[in-house]
Every structure is written in C-alpha cells, then in structure tokens.
C-alpha cells in the first residue's frame, strides 16, 4: 500500500514513517503543502495522511485541490486542531477520517486499515479471500482451521494489495509502486520472485499471470 505522509514536524514524521513502514505501507513524505499537492497530483497513492497546519500551502487547500482534480484516494487528516469546526471543515473539504494529535499509533493504524477496506468496498473488518483471512496486525495469513502462515514484510504488503484488488489485472509497475516507497529504486522483476513465493504458500492458482497485463488475484 502506497501512502503519502504530509507532516511538517520532522521528528514526528520520521517516527510515523517508521511506524507506518513497519505496518507494511510504502511511505512517501512531504513536509509542506506544495510538495504534498504535487505528489498527490502526480503519484498514485492508496492513502494519504495529511496535517492541516502546513508551511506554504494549508492542508485544507491541498485537500480541496486534490478533490477538485479528481484525486479520490482516502485521506486521513492528522492534526493538532481538534475543534469540531475543524473536523466539520476537514470532512467537507473531502477528508475521509480525522484524527487529532496527540494520538496512539495503534489507533492511527486501525483507522488507516478501516479506510483502506472502505475504499475497496469492504465494510467488514479484516481482509478475507478464498478460504483464508489476512491478519493485518500480525502480518500473517489465518487458515480456516485456525493455523497461521507467516509472511515476510514484502510478502504481506504484496498479498494485501492483491487481496484488496481481487479479479483486477495488476501490472508489475503498479505492484512495485504500491509495495515499495518512492525512494526504493527497484527492478520490477523482484515482484516475480515474491509472486512465486506467495503462490508456494497459498496455492499455484491463487495468482494468475496474464501476459502483457500483469497478475490477477483469484479471490
């Protein structure tokens, strides 16, 4: 999952990036409104975490620009401004959720997961497909008999993206973008390696290869 973190407080942003990365997100960071606007405009993010009090361009305006340009990714506003007026204005500007600072990291992660599920049209908590469920907190697969299947970080991120987009052909470039962050300059062939590993764990028919299109997860 590719996530844009917009936060101007450097130590907090660094720490958050680490927390988010540990939870399996590919995190890009922006520390001002204009960079945030640019990244959100030109990159394809699954999620954005947006601070409101930003230098150069206020967070609310960034959000309004995104929305008016048709950028529809879920946006969570993470701000110190916790008055209800701010909340109302934030959600009117197009935010999907609002979390006031200071916050518990677990709450942020839970809300981000909920946003992702909603964005992919799943109301029920947890991601389930075929005959297993993905445990997002522990980053593992739970089988119907209760036994678990451990995943590496990259495997988890890749599988989650597959499971949130079942039946859709996903190109290697797209998968790379959503599994690794911006600074990660990687040959997209690495995706092949991870797809093979997932097939070994979940069954060969779980992920279908489509020549010229990429991969399709069979949900």
């Amino acid at each position: 999952m590719r996530l844009l973190l917009v936060e101007d407080d450097a130590p907090l942003a660094e720490r958050l990036q680490a927390t988010l990365a540990a939870a399996g997100y590919a995190v890009d960071r922006a520390d001002n409104g204009q960079d945030a606007l640019f990244l959100g405009r030109h990159e394809d993010y699954d999620l954005a975490v947006l601070d409101l009090g930003l230098p150069r361009l206020p967070g609310l305006e960034v959000l309004e620009h995104w929305r008016s340009e048709g950028r529809a990714m879920p946006v969570l506003i993470l701000t110190a401004r916790d008055s209800w007026r701010d909340k109302v204005e934030g959600l009117k500007a197009g935010a999907d959720d609002y979390l006031a600072k200071p916050f518990h990291p677990e709450e942020l992660l839970a809300r981000l997961q909920a946003l992702l599920r909603r964005a992919h049209g799943r109301a029920a908590p947890g991601i389930a497909a075929r005959d297993f469920r993905l445990d997002e907190d522990m980053q593992r697969v739970i089988r119907p008999d209760g036994s678990t299947l451990e995943l590496t970080g990259t495997e988890f991120r890749l599988l989650r993206y597959f499971m949130l987009n079942p039946g859709k052909p996903l190109s290697k470039t797209r998968l790379t973008e959503h599994v690794y962050d911006q600074d990660f300059d990687l040959d997209s062939n690495v995706i092949e390696v991870y797809v093979r590993r997932l097939r070994e764990k979940l069954g060969q028919d779980a992920i279908e290869t489509r020549r010229g299109q990429g991969y399709v997860f069979r949900g």
Partner: protein, 436 residues
C-alpha cells in the same frame, strides 16, 4: 438607575412654562388695574372741574348740571361739595347714603378707595379749592366694580390661556422629545440585536449627541471580537506547538515500552486538551459567529457519520429552530459535536438528535447503547474537574459539554432514552435576548 430623561424634562419645563405664563398674566392684570385707576381718576378730575364751575355763590343748587348719571340714585357716580361754612352740596345719586368729605386745604388733592352704598367700591377723588376768599372741598367718586369685574374676567381668561398654552407647549415638547428619543431607541434596539447576534456593529447614523458613545461602543466591540479571535488563534497555535511533540512522545513511549513516560504523556495530553478547549469557549455575550442550528447540525451529523463510518450508524436529527440562534457557533459545535460523538461511540446502531428552540434551547441526544446509571452520570460530569483522576480521553467530551452548559447558564441532565433504551443527554440553554 436614574429616572426617565423624558419625564424629568416634562416636569421641569412644564412647571417653568406655567410659572412664566402665570406671572405674565399677573403683571398684565396689575398694569391694567393701575392704568384703569389713573384713567378713572383723570375723568373724576375733569368732572370735578365742571362741578366747580357750576357752584353757585348762594344756595345749594348746582347751576350748571352735570351728566344725568349723577342724578340717578346709587348710579355709581357721586359728588359732594363741602363749603367753608359747613354746608354741603350732595349729588342726587347719593340719595340717603351718608357720605363725608375730608376738609382739605386749598390745592390739596387726595385719591383713595372708599366703600359706597350697596357694596360698591368707590374711587374717591377729593380736592381743596379757594374761590373769592371762601375755601371748599370737592369730593367726587365713581364705582369701580364694573371695571374690576371686567378685569377679573381678563384675569381668568389670562389664567385659562396660560394653562392651555402650557399644555400645548408640553405636548409639542413631548412630540419633539419622542422624535429625538426614537433615534436613541434605534440605538437601543441595535444593542439588543447586537446581544442576540443579529448584527455585529451598531449603526452610526445617529444624532450627533450620542454618536461618540455609539462610536466608542463599536470600537469596544471590535476590540473585544479581535481579542477573542486572537486568543482563539494563539491557543490553536499553542495547541499545535504542544501536540506534535506530545504525539512524538507517545510514539516513542509506545514502541519502546516506557510505561511511566506514556502515562505522563497521556496526562499532559488530557490536560492540554481540556484546558485549551475550555479557554476557547466564548460563553455568553455577543457571539463572534452565530450558530445555524440546521446547517451546523447536519454538518456535524455528516462528520460523526464519517468518523464512525465502520459502525454504519443511523443518525437522524429533528431540528426546530430559526435559521440563526444567538449562540457562539464554535461553542455550539463543541457542545453538539461532543454529545453526538459520545452517543456514536456507545450506540449499537442508532443515534437521535432533537433540537428545539422556542424560549429555551432544548437539545436531546439519545442512543441505543448501554446507557449509564444515575450514579455513573454524576462521575461523568465531574470528570475533568479533577483531571489527575481521569481516565485519559474517556468522558472528556462530556466534561467539555458540562463546561459549555455552565458558561451559558444552562442545565445538563442524564437519563435513559425512552425510545432507544440507551443514554439520553438533555441540555437546556436560555436563549439570550428571548425573554426581553
């Protein structure tokens, strides 16, 4: 409070006008009386001269007759000539009335009032003469009653006209005052509308006398508003400045297991939250921005729905209120927001908001959650007043609601919802300016 300006002006001016008009009437009467007396005296002197010319050397008959009025009995015109040898010539009009004249030396004259027959009041003119060696005194009198009666009529007319004049003047003055005060009334209604938040400054097209006052008030209002905006802005900045480091502390403590640090950070977070929110409340007074019950209510419901999107709550509102209510928008957003948030937190599927503004603002927020026992409700309310004992985050919203209700002089009650079975929070706030 001092009495009404209008009434005191009416009284002073009324009394003054009446006094002036009455003294004018009195002076007029006196001048007239004096003039008439002089006029009558000179006529008497002329008649006396005619009389003297007719006095015979012998006998008691006046040789040249005077006007007939001196012959009719008690006609009001009389004469008497007292000769040096003690004899007297009396006019026929005196009839049997005893009438004496003084014995005056020649050249001496006297004018005085004398009572006459049949209650007449006589102006008596007497003079001493000497002719051919013999001295005599002439007394000639005229009844003043007809003149006095005419004068009295004039006096009564004068008093009547004075009273009428005073009344007309008072009426005109009252009309003028009313007209002037109507412009002040405009200021008074403006102040009321300002209190209720319908306008944000007083109109300055007022009489020059009160323009400085209105101008000064506008300055004060502007300064107060700017001060409020500034403190809200600076508190927002302070919150921002404090919260990011706190968020970082929570992150660090959370992942590296510093339980005590985390606990202290939580306490700081609660303190900062509560105090900043408290300081931001406006309370009564002219609101900076007014609460729009319907729009704001719907915005809040949309917001709470989004914040609790996972629960798929059914939140509905029943709002009966005018477009704008004289409450500070921020305060009311905090009040309703916290109530709805709390209800949504505990609800299983359903939240209801009723808002009704007639003389008092009634707010009822219900949910179908577990609800609270009356004793628990007390604890919920007192939470936050003893910050060190609070469980972080929990119940803080309701404590803020309590603060807002107290600031606006309202009432807050907890109960069980009759229709939904969960918690029912009832808020009653007096609407500023509604009782006037």
């Amino acid at each position: 409070m001092r009495g009404s300006l209008e009434r005191s002006l009416q009284w002073t001016l009324g009394i003054l006008v009446l006094a002036v008009l009455l003294s004018l009437t009195a002076a007029g009467t006196w001048i007239l009386l004096h003039g008439l007396e002089q006029f009558a005296a000179s006529r008497l002197a002329h008649d006396a001269e005619a009389l003297i010319a007719g006095i015979p050397a012998q006998g008691l008959e006046i040789e040249r007759p005077l006007p007939p009025v001196y012959s009719q009995p008690f006609s009001g015109h009389y004469y008497l000539v007292r000769l040096g040898d003690g004899r007297a010539i009396r006019s026929r009009s005196l009839w049997d009335h005893p009438f004496e004249a003084a014995n005056l030396a020649p050249g001496e004259t006297r004018l005085d009032l004398h009572s006459g027959p049949q209650g007449q009041r006589l102006l008596l003119w007497q003079a001493g003469y000497e002719r051919q060696g013999s001295a005599f005194t002439v007394a000639i009198a005229e009844d003043l009653n007809p003149l006095l009666r005419a004068l009295a009529r004039f006096l009564y007319l004068g008093i009547g006209l004075s009273l009428l004049g005073a009344l007309i003047l008072l009426a005109v003055q009252r009309w003028l005052l009313r007209r002037a005060f109507r412009q002040i009334d405009a200021v008074r209604t403006d102040v009321q509308r300002l209190t209720s938040g319908a306008i944000t400054r007083l109109r300055e097209d007022v009489p020059a006398e009160i323009r400085p006052l209105v101008g000064e008030m506008n300055l004060l209002i502007a300064a107060w508003r700017a001060h409020l905006e500034r403190s809200r802005a600076s508190l927002g900045n302070l919150a921002h400045a404090l919260k990011s480091p706190l968020a970082l502390i929570l992150q660090l403590a959370g992942s590296e297991g510093h339980g005590a640090v985390r606990e202290q950070a939580e306490r700081m977070r609660t303190l900062v939250d509560r105090e900043l929110k408290r300081a931001r409340l406006a309370g009564g007074g002219a609101p900076a921005r007014r609460f729009r019950a319907r729009e704001d209510g719907e915005d809040l419901i949309a917001t709470v729905n989004a914040l609790y999107a996972d629960k798929g709550l059914d939140i509905a509102a029943n709002i009966h209120a005018p477009a704008h209510l004289p409450f500070d928008q921020e305060d009311m957003l905090e009040l309703l927001g916290n109530l709805l948030d709390n209800a949504a937190k505990w609800a299983r599927g359903c939240v209801r908001l009723s808002l009704d503004a007639t003389e008092t603002l009634h707010i009822l927020v219900e949910d179908d959650g577990p609800g609270v026992e009356p004793a628990e409700a007390e604890i919920l309310l007192s939470r936050g007043s003893r910050l060190d004992e609070t469980t972080p985050g929990h119940g803080l919203g309701l404590a803020i609601v309590g603060d807002i209700v107290r600031l606006h002089g309202g009432e807050l009650r907890f109960g069980r919802s009759e229709s939904l079975g969960g918690l029912a929070v009832k808020v009653e706030l007096p609407i500023p300016g509604a009782g006037r």
